[in-house]
């Protein structure tokens, strides 16, 4: 309604003007602008029906189809994007898992290598120790054997020498068995007094 009032207010000078022209120009056929002319109504209705027919029977069905197609396409694209995203997520998860597995595997391998190395080191050390020990033992054994042999030899020689000596000194020769007994006795004595009973 406000627009209507606005029209009235704005139209005021016009109304005055009309009054004036009405008085100054008699005979001019007054046309009230608020009443439609019949012929203009006819043309206007034809023009509007042209527009309405074009839109209702041609444009609107096309627009509907177009919008439906677009909706369908966008929906399809969205669904595709969604499934692609899911796929990507799945693959990413898979890769992550693989990487985690690989990392575990690497850790395991390193750990194993470390353990193997440790084991190897220990083995080597043990073997080296053992070898050293056995070498030492062998050497000791050899030394002992050598010493025993030397002692034995020495004992024999000393015996023989002693006997020779004694024979020469005493001039009397004793039988072999008696000799040996004497010699042993003598050596025992020597050993007992010499080394303080060590070996």
């Amino acid at each position: 309604m406000s627009t209507f009032q606005g029209y009235v207010v704005r139209g005021l000078p016009l109304a005055q003007a009309e009054e004036e022209t009405g008085t100054t120009e008699p005979g001019a056929e007054e046309h009230n602008p608020i009443l439609p002319e019949t012929d203009e109504l006819l043309w206007g209705s034809i023009a509007f029906f042209i527009v309405f027919a074009a839109i209702a029977f041609w444009a609107w069905p096309r627009i509907r189809k177009l919008l439906a197609e677009r909706t369908e396409k966008i929906q399809g694209e969205l669904e595709k994007a969604e499934s692609t995203r899911h796929e990507a997520d799945r693959i990413l998860e898979e890769y992550r898992e693989q990487i985690a597995r690989a990392r575990d595997e690497a850790g395991r391998i390193i750990e194993e290598a470390r353990r193997t190395a440790e084991q190897l080191r220990k083995d080597l050390q043990a073997r080296a120790e053992q070898e050293a020990q056995s070498t030492v033992a062998r050497a000791q054994e050899e030394i002992r054997a050598e010493r025993d042999r030397v002692v034995q030899e020495l004992r024999a020689q000393v015996g023989a020498l002693s006997i020779q000596l004694a024979e020469r000194v005493v001039g009397a020769s004793l039988d072999q068995k008696r000799h040996q007994e004497l010699i042993d006795e003598y050596i025992e004595e020597l050993a007992g007094s010499g080394s303080g009973g060590g070996s």
Binding site: G6, A47, A59
Partner: protein, 264 residues
């Protein structure tokens, strides 16, 4: 300064100024004469119709799924009418009225905008024919929709709105009777006519005034000012052209919606 005030204050045009009257809307017959007359307004009605049809054909003859250029423009217009007017006001069952609403919006807009298009410069809606005819169409449509959906209960719904104390019907029923069946078409048509009529009259006065004021040295400054204001008014008329098309269309939707869903 006082001269300006005197000039603005006087309701009487200055000496020698030929004031425009309502006769500027009475155009001569191009074809025929008397009661069967095809005048400038009639020509412009068909020009407006041709513009609308051409726009739709250009936009949707070979529509692309990804719109470009004019299709983009027309699609935003169509979607505006569909979403902001039909669906928003009537509801989802308003979609079937979109062709009518589209026709109303674009035809009225094209008829309005001719008022500021160079060499046309007369809105086809500044004569009562189009507003009156369209108002009658809208009146017929919303009443037909009401009867189609509610039968004779439509009139009961309109005249005796539900949810109102019975005593109020004494007051309400005559008001509803007059407002729905008489005032609605009248306001619809007169609002459109009045705006376009007044707008065209304003533009005419400003540009005739510019020419008159520029002709004399002592009023050249006023002439320049009048021209500037006139240019501003052209911009304003563009706004009015859109706005009036929009108002006419949305009120149509409101009336149809009211006939469809009386409970609102």
């Amino acid at each position: 300064m006082s001269a300006v005030l005197a000039l603005l204050g006087s309701s009487r045009p200055p000496e020698g100024f030929e004031k425009p009257t309502a006769e500027i809307f009475d155009t001569a017959c191009l074809i025929g004469s008397g009661d069967f007359c095809f005048n400038r307004i009639a020509l412009y009605m068909f020009v407006a119709a041709a513009i609308v049809v051409a726009l739709f054909v250009l936009a949707f003859a070979r529509p692309r799924l990804v719109p470009r250029g004019i299709q983009n423009l027309m699609e935003s217009g169509v979607e505006f009418v569909r979403n902001q007017i039909a669906v928003e006001v009537i509801g989802h069952d308003g979609i079937r009225f979109v062709p009518l609403l589209l026709s109303l919006f674009f035809f009225i807009f094209a008829a309005n905008i001719l008022g500021i298009v160079p060499f046309f410069q007369l809105p086809a809606t500044s004569r009562m024919a189009i507003p009156a005819f369209l108002a009658v169409v809208v009146w017929l449509v919303f009443n037909a929709v009401g009867i189609q959906h509610h039968g004779l209960r439509y009139f009961k719904n309109v005249l005796f709105p539900p949810g109102v104390p019975k005593a109020l019907y004494i007051l309400l029923t005559p008001i509803e009777l007059v407002s729905v069946f008489l005032v609605r078409p009248l306001t619809l048509s007169v609002r459109l006519l009045g705006n376009m009529f007044a707008g065209h009259m304003l533009l005419t006065i400003f540009f005739l005034g510019t020419a008159y004021l520029l002709a004399q040295w002592k009023t050249v400054a006023f002439g320049v000012a009048a021209f500037g204001l006139g240019v501003g008014l052209v911009g304003f008329e563009i706004l009015v052209a859109v706005l009036q098309a929009y108002i006419f269309t949305i009120l149509t939707a409101v009336y149809i919606g009211g006939a469809l869903h009386p409970e609102h």
